[in-house]
Amino acid sequence: MTTPMMLALYTPAAAPFLAALLALVLPSRIAVWTGLLAAVAVLASGVTLTTTDATLSVSGALGLLRADALTAWMLLTIGAVAVIACAAAPGYLRHEAAHHRRYLTLIQLFLACMSLAVLADNLGLFWVALEATTIVTAFLVGHRRTRESVEAAWKYVVLCSVGIAIAFLGIVCLYAASVAAGGHGVTALSWTHLASSAHSLDPALTKLATGLILLGFGTKAGLAPMHAWLPDAHSQAPAPVSALMSGVLLSVAFYAILRYRAIADAALGPAYVRTLLLTAALASLVVAAMLLIAQRDYKRLLAYSSIEHMGLIALGTAFGVRIAIAAVLLHILGHGLVKSVAFCASGQVLHVTGSPDIAAVRALAARQPGLAGAFGISLVALLGLPPFSLFASELGVARAGFASGHGWAVAVAFTLMLVAFVAIARHGARMLLGPPAAQSTAPPPSVHRGRGLVFLGIGLTTAAMLGLYLGPLTDVLDAAAVVAGGH
């Protein structure tokens, strides 16, 4: 095995961990940049793994870590969103009086846990890493120590811990089934072993395990009806943290469902998981569409839009054919990029206007053209308009749905998404357009510096380019879809 591949296997978890240790000792103005460097290292590892060989499989650390095309795709997403979120850190910390060190340490630990989760070749270790993300993000959600943020942090930790405990019970059941089918020790829970021995798992016990695992990881992925923590946590966390939570943490939790679906389908046939996922997908879309209409808070607006997009991702996964899974993976990357830009921009809007209310933001385009541009374009991309990659992936999911005989589900889902579209477009237009109100003749709260917008622009440009041309990523996307059981 070549050295660059081994480096790419260990760097995504090691670099942010090192940066977290450095953040404890270095002054925060330097630690901001080492943190950004660690995020770039994660992205570089993802790029290394995706561009060398689409059918790769690298393992290390006594077989506990493994990277294949699906892992590489997830690392690419984590790295891209992390770069955007870490580049927004200096802008965020400039307006925060204290606790810089804690913020910078925890956010790097958060990154390390997510990288470890997708690299773990073991369902049990994946669980440990995912629960660790809840623990390290708890204080990031409650960072501002207001009534709202402490309440959000409490709900987040209790609901997610309970949800993920359900998944652990499912993992215990699956372990019992895997041991009975001849598995032994740690390997009994390894993704590779489970995938190869799935047909010999006991169907009754696997059915129980599947329900529990989908419910548990579905909670963390923000799927209805276990989504109650999501709007609170995502609206109260600092903007760069919301970007990471909405942009990748939800998808990292969903990644387990993607991998597990292939195993459950081999043991139970495709109908069971498909029914569960279709129910969760349509329920999430209903919840998101209904609550987006009368939304008053723009960060909550973005949070409900994440539930909507996770619903679409679950819908595509339910269809299960290869083009649907490929579209889902492209959607995960595109949504990560665009949602992180939207959240980072919303953090700056919050700073400029001082209010989280949609009604308090008027004529942003006239007052802060650069910021309004970034926020507005990211909303347009979230609505699924071309040329952004979300347009291509939504189209892909719809085509796959009709091709696999689930036209009714596509029709229902896209009707609900149309409702969400109108709601977001109306709220967004109110915030961005219109003449400046009379009081805006007063000097703005602070002159906004353009430097923070550069990375937002890069994120949006990348999402647009991905929508037009995938280039060398086509092979790895296809290989990842095959790994996730697309056929």
Binding site: G124, E131, I135, W154, V186, L205
Partner: protein
């Protein structure tokens, strides 16, 4: 120790394990809830230790010692520290009263026996027949977390769920792999630590009210 004696001791531990969970629903004084958790931790350690002795597995003996230290020592100690900050904590207005809670516990235990049938049917050992006890404790934990209003009661609900899952893992499979067990235990300690710190922040920002007072965030 003969197999018969160890089998009977195992049954005793499982009985104690379930009873302590029911006791948590029955008592309201937080200090006695913590004592009940210690008893439950002892019962869980007993289950793990007896299974380890039956299988002559040094790895499982190590896990049993670790579980004992965690559930009997560390976690109750952390809970007592939360309790000392809110000395007069008493469940004043649970959503379900004691008799309704006990009735629910009976129903949940029956449900657990129905739900755990695939587990019992598959596992080869005699101990696997006791797995419904673990599932019942998980369900009682959910019930507690959903119906109690005090922050500390919700933490205890989360701990009951965790104990129940650990019992299922020991009884059905002899314990999950060591590295997963280590990671899960570390997560549990850190989660309780986070909840402990959040409890004091809740106290500082909301005052000693019920979680019912958490009404700042809504749509």
């Amino acid at each position: 120790m003969s197999n018969e004696v160890s089998g009977q001791l195992l049954n005793l531990c499982c009985g104690l394990f379930l009873l302590s969970a029911v006791g948590v629903l029955w008592r309201r004084q937080v200090s006695s809830l913590i004592t009940l958790l210690v008893v439950q931790g002892l019962a869980l350690t007993g289950i793990a230790g007896l299974l380890a002795a039956q299988r002559h597995s040094p790895e499982v003996i190590g896990v049993a010692v670790g579980v004992g230290a965690l559930k009997v020592g560390v976690v109750p100690w952390m809970l007592r520290r939360v309790h000392n900050r809110v000395p007069d904590a008493r469940e004043t207005r649970p959503l379900a009263n004691v008799s309704a809670s006990l009735l629910a516990a009976a129903g949940l235990t029956l449900l657990a026996y129905a739900a755990a049938r695939p587990l019992v049917a598959l596992a080869p050992s005699a101990s696997a027949h006791a797995t419904p006890v673990g599932v019942a404790v998980v369900l009682i934990g959910f019930f507690l977390a959903a119906t109690r209003q005090r922050a500390i009661s919700q933490i205890i609900g989360v701990l009951l769920i965790d104990n129940g899952i650990a019992a299922v893992a020991f009884l059905a499979t002899g314990g999950v792999p060591l590295i997963v067990e280590l990671g899960a235990s570390a997560d549990l300690v850190l989660a309780v630590l986070v909840l402990q710190i959040l409890t004091s922040r809740l106290l500082a920002t909301f005052g000693p009210t019920d979680l019912d007072g958490l009404r700042e965030l809504h749509d």
